[in-house]
Symmetry: C2
Subunit: 312 residues, 2 copies
């Protein structure tokens, strides 16, 4: 029963698949779902999604036969079941196949960021690809047991790794990140990192640390990156962010100081923007050619809410 | 500049230390702070806090000399600086010293859960101990590089582990967990796990997975554990939970179905409770001797808010 809310409406956030998580430890069940003729596959080569070019767009779903033509997967993840009971798996092919698959007629390889930016798939497929990519990346980076150093093995339909040597079990990691606008009356605080597209300013953000509340992390990051003190923090929406596996927690924070002191290790610049300026950023009419983040980023939605005064 | 909000008022959530995180990579800085005579130490033996018994309570802060008497630490973490500039470190002693230290007059060893329940320290110390315990536990469970299996080394004042073999860097893990009350008019949904204290019912909870928004995770967990469908989700507060390192994200969810189907792998029972029943749980007058979670759990605060109708 998918429900539309702020978070669901943001890219990577719509993922109505039934994860059937209680069935993951049941190997016979997962095998049966994997082998069922109706089962469909999302395919990645390394971490790049593979799509089938169609007359009117791109199809991300592969049948057994279509997937088998691409090569032998090195890993698969049981993603869950559709409302009609169709099972969905993600398959990872060896990264080395990237070049040969890209050359095949009828196939399109496109990074997830580019898929999101270009709107090449439905929001739903984007959500499924995003979740799958995070889990695949985690396997790639966690082939050994952090507790004892022995190689670990995939279990539970791709949702766990087990160490036979020390008995430790390991679960995919999700890193909470706070991303927020400090608000001072009619102004909000934005920054830009050196690697951003030219002219783009976005919300400040940073990883939440052990021992922190969401609210404390929001206040700490704003103070560290821009020297601004904040008091009240309000939650806005969240977004699973598959680069590689963050949970973006979008918030607003009430500023109680206004002098900006930029942390030059993190940011190229940070400054206050009036609502009028933000409106020009969205309409592409800012006199200094400053632009807003793209709609696939939660920062875009925070700024939109600020503009429409639907916050705090 | 600590600010009191809902999250800050919950146990483990008050931690106003300046983490000075930008200085962590600077080894000379961290060394200078470690060796400064004014620096104070929180001490753990294994993951158990060590306190000094005082006439009027317990003191968790050790000076250099006091800490040195306990043994040689196997690890330390630079936690940050007080408002007056005093640095705070956490020290971990070998777990094997537990028995001998427990026998020393003037020392008290007490698990963090028990410290929180018994109110043996200030909220501030509890927050600092909690954050430190999460990081210490992470080191304990992550002595090897998950990417290549080689032993990794502590760096950045205890906030990173580096692998010399493959060059990977690893950061302490924080696992987002959703914890929530489904609401059906005047009733809320509570469950109990077999290991709970007799008679206690609490909020449902579960780990957020890759590819999920907070809202989706809330709806999924309620449906998985109790078969109840929900629509709108509202954020309430968050809590760092050091067992071992979760971020509890407290929410309310509007129920759109009411039949309860208990997942018996997860729960012993789940059922609806009226506001009148919840009031009796808090006052200790429930006819079936059902009790509410203790104040150090965010579930207690969710229930209090439900009782006072300060939610959604």
């Amino acid at each position: 029963m998918p429900t539309f809310d702020r978070s669901t409406a943001i890219s990577f956030g719509f993922n109505p698949l039934d994860r059937v998580s209680e069935k993951r430890p049941d190997e016979a069940f997962v095998d049966a779902r994997r082998n069922h003729p109706s089962t469909r596959f999302l395919v990645f080569v390394g971490e790049t999604p593979v799509l089938r070019s169609q007359e009117n767009g791109f199809d991300p779903l592969f049948s057994h036969e279509q997937a088998a033509e691409l090569g032998t997967p090195i890993l698969d993840i049981f993603l869950g079941e559709d409302q009609d009971g169709t099972a969905l798996f993600a398959l990872a092919l060896d990264e080395e196949l990237q070049e040969s698959l890209a050359a095949r007629p009828g196939l399109e390889l496109a990074g997830l960021r580019s898929l999101a930016q270009r709107g090449l798939t439905t929001q739903r497929v984007l959500g499924e690809l995003g979740g799958a990519k995070s889990v695949l990346n985690w396997h790639q980076r966690h082939r050994f047991c952090a507790n004892c150093g022995a190689p670990s093995k995939v279990s539970c339909g791709g949702w766990r790794r087990d160490c036979a040597a020390c008995g430790a079990t390991h679960f995919p990691r999700v890193d909470p990140v706070v991303i927020m606008l400090a608000i001072d009356g009619d102004r909000c605080l934005l920054g830009r990192q050196a690697h951003f597209a030219p002219g783009m300013y976005s919300a400040l953000a940073g990883f939440l640390e052990p021992g922190e509340t969401i609210e404390d992390a929001v206040r700490r990051e704003i103070h560290e990156e821009a020297g601004v003190h904040c008091s009240q923090v309000s939650y806005f929406a969240s977004q699973p962010w598959p680069f590689p596996s963050s949970l973006m927690i979008g918030c607003f924070a009430k500023a109680v100081s206004t002098d900006v002191l930029v942390d030059e290790n993190e940011l190229e610049d940070a400054r206050w923007f009036t609502r009028a300026e933000v409106a020009m950023m969205f309409s592409g009419t800012h006199p200094d050619a400053i632009s807003a983040p793209l709609p696939f980023a939660i920062a875009h939605h925070l700024l939109k809410a600020f503009l429409e005064e639907k916050f705090m």
